[in-house]
């Protein structure tokens, strides 16, 4: 090890070959201070997250006046409007319904499939690799795939569900209030359940074998082993997966945008989409900003509470 270090120290000469301006740039990085290393990151994050956040807050106290073609200060009007806007409360309800249903199904299904695949059978490595493929498909294209497959006339999912009698003849899954949200959820569940599977599988494979051997000797049932040993040992893995997935489910936009645009009616309006449409479709710049701030505040509260109570650490 000290040989490597000596080689490094001996290699001091090459940096002298660098042009003077570059050497000046690198000088702060030679000492024990952390700040020069962090500075570029901090600058980027300040410009592209903190500044837009402040701008958004400013925007929420203004509104675009179409006739005078300018932003005008309106005080707390947008925040008051929010309070009595039934479509906002509706979209809040859709967001939370989507959040809890999708996250629960992905968690349970992900754990079940992970337990199923946790084995050294030949070919299971290939199955794991196949499952990773869904994770890299652009969600907008996934939305398109499920739009095609759920078409009431020629979609393959519609065809199977109709043949099984689950839905009526020519029932438009994505164009009826009762099933549109389920149709969108299906795309999310298909694409991201493998995310849970892969993380849980890695967790299961790294568990120590001793507690399981001891429990088997004591004659514990598989259910008991799962509840008393697997779950507690997997706690951190589950918490991290739920946190990361939860953040993305809560701020989901792509699927509804390409599959339903919030419709039919308002049955698939999630907060993100409602904010986006207020800003860019209805030219309510201030109101859209206000709604997007609400979704930001909610997600920060929920995620930080979860981090605190689940004791997730990086």
């Amino acid at each position: 090890m000290s040989r490597t270090a000596a080689a490094a120290a001996g290699a001091g000469a090459p940096s002298a070959r660098l042009p003077a301006p570059l050497r000046a740039l690198l000088r702060p990085l030679s000492g024990e201070g952390a700040f020069p290393w962090l500075a570029p990151l901090v600058v980027m994050l300040l410009i592209f997250t903190i500044y837009p956040l402040l701008y958004n807050i400013w925007l929420s106290f203004h509104e675009y006046a179409p006739f005078r073609r300018q932003l005008e200060f309106v005080g707390v009007v947008n925040w008051v409007t929010l309070w009595s806007d039934t479509r906002f409360w509706g979209s809040l309800g859709v967001t939370f319904t989507y959040f809890f249903v999708v996250l629960t199904i992905q968690l349970v299904l992900g754990m079940a499939i992970a337990l199923l695949l946790d084995s050294d059978e030949p070919g299971f490595g290939l199955l794991r690799a196949l499952l990773t493929l869904t994770l890299v498909i652009p969600p907008a294209i996934t939305g398109m795939m499920f739009l095609l497959m759920q078409d009431p006339e020629f979609g393959v999912i519609s065809y199977v569900l109709q043949a099984l009698g689950v839905i009526g003849e020519n029932h438009p899954i994505l164009a009826s209030r009762s099933t549109a949200l389920l149709g969108v959820m299906l795309a999310d569940i298909w694409q991201w359940t493998p995310f849970m599977v892969l993380i849980f599988l890695a967790g299961l494979r790294s568990l120590p074998p001793e507690p399981f051997e001891a429990a088997m000797l004591d004659g514990a049932s598989p259910v008991q082993i799962f509840r008393r040993i697997t779950l507690p040992l997997m706690w951190k893995v589950i918490a991290v997966a739920v946190l990361i997935r939860g953040i993305d489910v809560f701020r989901m936009f792509d699927y509804v945008f390409v599959m339903t645009s919030g419709g039919p009616g308002t049955s698939t309006y999630v907060l993100s989409l409602y904010a986006w449409q207020q800003t860019f479709s209805f030219i309510k710049w201030g109101y859209g900003a206000t709604i997007s701030l609400v979704s930001l505040i909610l997600i920060l509260i929920i995620a930080n509470l979860f981090i605190k109570f689940a004791r997730v650490r990086w």
Binding site: L148, G203, F253
Partner: protein, 292 residues
Amino acid sequence: MTVHSASRRRLRIVAAWSVVALFVFPLYYWITTAFKNARDIFDQPPSVWAFDPTLKNFEEVFGISLGFLRQQEVLPGGGNFYMAPRLWDSIVVAFGSTVLSVTLATLAAYALSRFPFRGRHAFVAWVLSTRMMPPVAVAIPLFFIYKDVGLLDTYAGVILIHAVMNLPLAVLLMKSFFDDVPKEIDESAIIDGASRWLIFRRVVLPMAKGGIAATAVLCFIFSWTEFVFVLTLTQTGLKTVPVVSSSFVTSTGTAWGNMAALGVAAMVPAFVFILLVQKQLVRGLTLGSLKQ
């Protein structure tokens, strides 16, 4: 006992393959759609196995003429869906933002891994919290900011925000890879008189090469698949594949075959990349918090 466990084993194998087949099916269906004529796409009941394969969709989307397998004359570059430049846009944006993201993140991650400064945990928490911001809450104000400074509809504008979007992932992931390199190496090199930059450049960086590659691949993929920022911050100057494919839904119907062809072209590079980083995938997906 043995008969019982053998049948259970067989049951598990069958169940595992069936479940994965269920997950692969939509992918299979989409890929085959890219090779179907309109007649087969609109078939009822849907044609899953039997259809006349055609390259027409790829020819139309990429404006090239693929001689073999052609059933009818296609005008190269014709049609409303000439998308080859959009693939190029996707590559430029993903590549540019990956380079920027990985560079900044590597510097910061080294400091977070090596210097025990005050407020380090708070700093990591802050970086993580930027990962929680809903894209829409950033895209809306950024649209107005970009409009004022002239970054709307430019490569630079999209590359910058995609880099920022990937920074939390890249920083936390690179930190976890640097944490794997023993600190004693740095310490003994310092005793030998090497500067921090030299240790970073000559010792730690080469030892974390695999980690950097994995981080870069994930950044590339997340930029490649991103939707909201491109949708909001570009108009006609550039469009990446996910956004442009959603524009295939027109008032006269959806060009499913063309869309599927473009979708397949967009998936292939991502599939290749993801299979390259299988070993670091879970660490990457969990932002470095779980090591395999």
